[in-house]
C-alpha cells in the first residue's frame, strides 16, 4: 500500500489514478515540433524526487505532489490543478 498525501488527506494509491510526470503543455499554435514531441513523449524519469500529477477519482480533481521514486517519500502536495498543470 502506498499512502498518498492528497489535498483531501491521505489516500491509498489504488484509490487514485496516476497521470505521470508533471508537465506544462506548450501552446500548440506557437510551439515547435521538437517542443511538442518533448511534451508528448520524452520523460525525465529520475530515480529520486519527481513532481507528478495524480487524479483523485472520488473528488474528481487533479493535484500534484512530489515523490521520491526510489524511496516513495512524499512532500509538498498542492491544491487541485487542471490536468495540464495550470491552476484550477
Amino acid at each position: 500500500m502506498l499512502l498518498v498525501p492528497t489535498p483531501f488527506g491521505p489516500r491509498n494509491a489504488s484509490d487514485l489514478r496516476y497521470v505521470g510526470e508533471a508537465t506544462s503543455r506548450p501552446d500548440p499554435s506557437t510551439t515547435s515540433p521538437e517542443a511538442w514531441r518533448d511534451y508528448l513523449y520524452l520523460e525525465h524519469n529520475p530515480a529520486g524526487w519527481l513532481r507528478e500529477t495524480w487524479y483523485d477519482r472520488v473528488n474528481r480533481v487533479y493535484f500534484q505532489v512530489e515523490r521520491n521514486t526510489a524511496t516513495n517519500e512524499f512532500r509538498n502536495p498542492t491544491m487541485p490543478v487542471a490536468k495540464h498543470g495550470k491552476k484550477a
Binding site: L2, R37, H44, N45, P46, T69
Partner: protein, 443 residues
C-alpha cells in the same frame, strides 16, 4: 567498489582454450570423479580503454557483446554491470517467448529472435530448456476477439503459426480453464500460437556470457557506471546532441571508449541522462509470483488481457504468474499486497480449481516502458552513444535478435533494416510502432 576476493580467486582460464564443451559424458565423468567445474567466464583486470563498452550485463548487453565478437570479430569489448550478470529483468522475467505481435515490424523482429532461440542450445552449447509448449491469449470480450483476429491475420501473412480458436478447443488444450461461459469474464475464444513457449532465462544469460568470454569479451560485475564522458555536445560538460562519447566513469575508475552502449532496461533513463539524451521512457515495476509445485496439469502458456494475468507451469510443477506493470513510476522492487490480492482473484476467475494452492514467492523487476510498447534501438544524437532500451515487459524474448542487430549497427555504423522502425527518431516523425494490443499484459 572492490570485487570480493572469493570471486577473484576463482581459477583463471587461458583465453582461447575455451570453456570445456558440456556433454552428457562430461556430466557423468564429473559426477563420478567429484571434480569441480571450471569457472564459466574469466575474471580479468579492468583496462583503461576498450573499443566498445556495454553498460548492463543482462541478456541484451551480453547478446550484443556475443554477436559483436562472433559475427563481426570485434572482441575488445567490456560488459559492465553494477551488480551481477542477470541481476536485472533478465533474471526476473517469466521466461515467455512468442512472435505473435500486432504490427508487421514487430512480428518480423520477434520472429527472428524465436529463430535464434530455436538453435541456441546448439550454438551456445548450453541447454536453455526451450519448451515449445504453445501460447494462448484468451479473449473475454468482442473487442478482444476482434484484436485476436486482426493479430492472427497479420501473423499468418508473415508465415507465423497463429490462429483464433473457439472455447471448446481452448478447453481441450487446457482443461483446467473455466470455459463454461458462466463466469464473470466468459472465455469467447483465444489467439493460439503453437511456437510460443518458455526458456530458462538464467541459462540464456550464462550461455551468452560464456560464449562472449570464449571470444575475448570481458565481463566486469560490481562495476557501476557513474557518468558518461562526452565532448562537443550542446549541453553541460560537452554532453547532449551534436557531441560524441569518449568513455565512462565507473566506481572502479575511468575507461575511455569511442562507443558506449546503453543496455540497462529499467535504469535506461538514468544512463542516457549521463550522455544528455532524453528518452521516451518511464520506469515501472512488474511483479510476478510462483506457487508450490504440483503435478503437471497446464500444458500451455495462458494469457488473459482483460484479467491482466498470465500463467504457465514450470517443469518442476510450479505455476508462474505475471500481470501488468504497477500503476505508477517506481524504482522499488519491493512488491505490494494489492498485486497479490488482485492476481489471486483473477487467476481463480480463470481456474477455479486451484483455490487451495499456496503462493511460494512474489518478486518484481524494473521495466522501461515506452509510449508505443516498442523498444528504442540504435544510435542517438550523441555520436558513439547507442541505446538498446525500452524493453518494457517483453525484452527477454527479444534478447537474441537485439544483440544480433545492435552488433551489426555498431560494426557497420548503419541501422539494420530489422530494427530501423525502432529508432528514437520515430517520436519526432510520429511513426510509432503501436504494440499495446499485443504487449499490455507483461510477458
Amino acid at each position: 567498489m572492490a570485487t570480493p576476493s572469493s570471486i577473484v580467486a576463482g581459477a583463471r582460464r587461458k583465453l582461447g582454450a575455451g570453456p570445456p564443451r558440456y556433454s552428457a559424458a562430461g556430466l557423468v565423468r564429473k559426477g563420478l570423479s567429484g571434480d569441480s567445474w571450471p569457472r564459466v567466464w574469466r575474471d580479468v583486470e579492468l583496462k583503461s580503454s576498450y573499443d566498445v563498452v556495454i553498460i548492463g550485463g543482462g541478456v541484451h548487453g551480453l547478446a550484443t557483446a556475443y554477436y559483436l565478437a562472433t559475427n563481426h570479430g570485434i572482441t575488445d569489448v567490456a560488459v559492465l554491470d553494477k551488480a551481477y550478470l542477470g541481476s536485472g529483468g533478465s533474471g526476473r522475467n517469466t521466461a515467455i517467448v512468442r512472435s505473435n505481435y500486432l504490427t508487421p515490424e514487430g512480428v518480423a523482429f520477434y520472429d527472428r529472435s524465436l529463430t535464434l532461440y530455436n538453435t541456441m542450445a546448439t550454438d551456445l552449447n548450453l541447454n536453455v530448456m526451450f519448451s515449445e509448449r504453445g501460447h494462448m491469449t484468451l479473449a473475454h470480450t468482442d473487442g478482444a476477439l476482434r484484436t485476436m483476429n486482426w493479430r492472427a491475420e497479420v501473423n499468418k501473412l508473415q508465415g507465423i503459426d497463429s490462429s483464433v480458436i473457439d472455447p471448446t478447443e481452448v478447453g481441450k488444450l487446457a482443461p483446467s480453464l473455466d470455459v463454461s461461459g458462466d463466469s464473470r469474464y466468459p472465455i469467447l475464444g483465444a489467439l493460439y500460437h503453437p511456437p510460443g513457449g518458455t526458456i530458462r532465462h538464467d541459462a540464456v544469460v550464462w550461455g551468452y556470457a560464456r560464449g562472449a568470454d570464449h571470444r575475448g569479451v570481458e565481463m566486469h560485475q560490481k562495476t557501476e557506471v557513474l557518468d558518461i564522458l562526452c565532448e562537443g555536445g550542446s549541453g553541460p560538460d560537452g554532453k547532449g546532441p551534436g557531441g560524441r562519447v569518449t568513455g565512462v566513469r565507473t566506481s572502479r575508475g575511468d575507461i575511455s571508449a569511442p562507443i558506449v552502449v546503453n543496455c540497462t532496461a529499467g535504469w535506461a533513463s538514468l544512463i542516457s541522462d549521463m550522455a544528455g539524451v532524453k528518452l521516451p521512457i518511464h520506469t515501472r515495476p512488474l511483479q510476478a509470483a510462483v506457487t508450490e509445485p504440483v503435478k503437471v496439469f497446464l500444458p500451455t502458456v495462458v494469457v488473459s488481457g482483460s484479467l491482466h494475468v498470465y500463467v504457465s507451469q514450470t517443469d518442476r510443477g510450479e505455476l508462474v504468474f505475471g500481470a501488468s506493470v504497477d500503476p505508477f513510476n517506481n524504482y522499488n522492487v519491493g512488491g505490494s499486497l494489492e498485486f497479490t490480492e488482485e492476481l489471486a482473484g483473477h487467476v481463480l476467475e480463470l481456474m477455479p480449481g486451484i483455490s487451495k494452492m499456496r503462493l511460494l514467492r512474489q518478486w518484481a523487476g524494473l521495466c522501461d516502458m515506452t509510449p508505443d510498447y516498442s523498444p528504442v534501438m540504435g544510435d542517438t544524437d550523441v555520436d558513439g552513444f547507442y541505446v538498446d532500451v525500452g524493453w518494457g515487459t517483453y525484452g527477454f524474448k527479444a534478447g537474441p535478435v537485439s544483440g544480433e542487430a545492435m552488433a551489426e549497427a555498431i560494426a557497420t555504423r548503419a541501422m539494420p533494416k530489422i530494427i530501423a522502425p525502432f529508432h528514437i527518431s520515430r517520436f519526432a516523425t510520429g511513426e510509432l510502432v503501436g504494440e499495446k494490443g499485443a504487449a499490455a499484459v507483461g510477458h
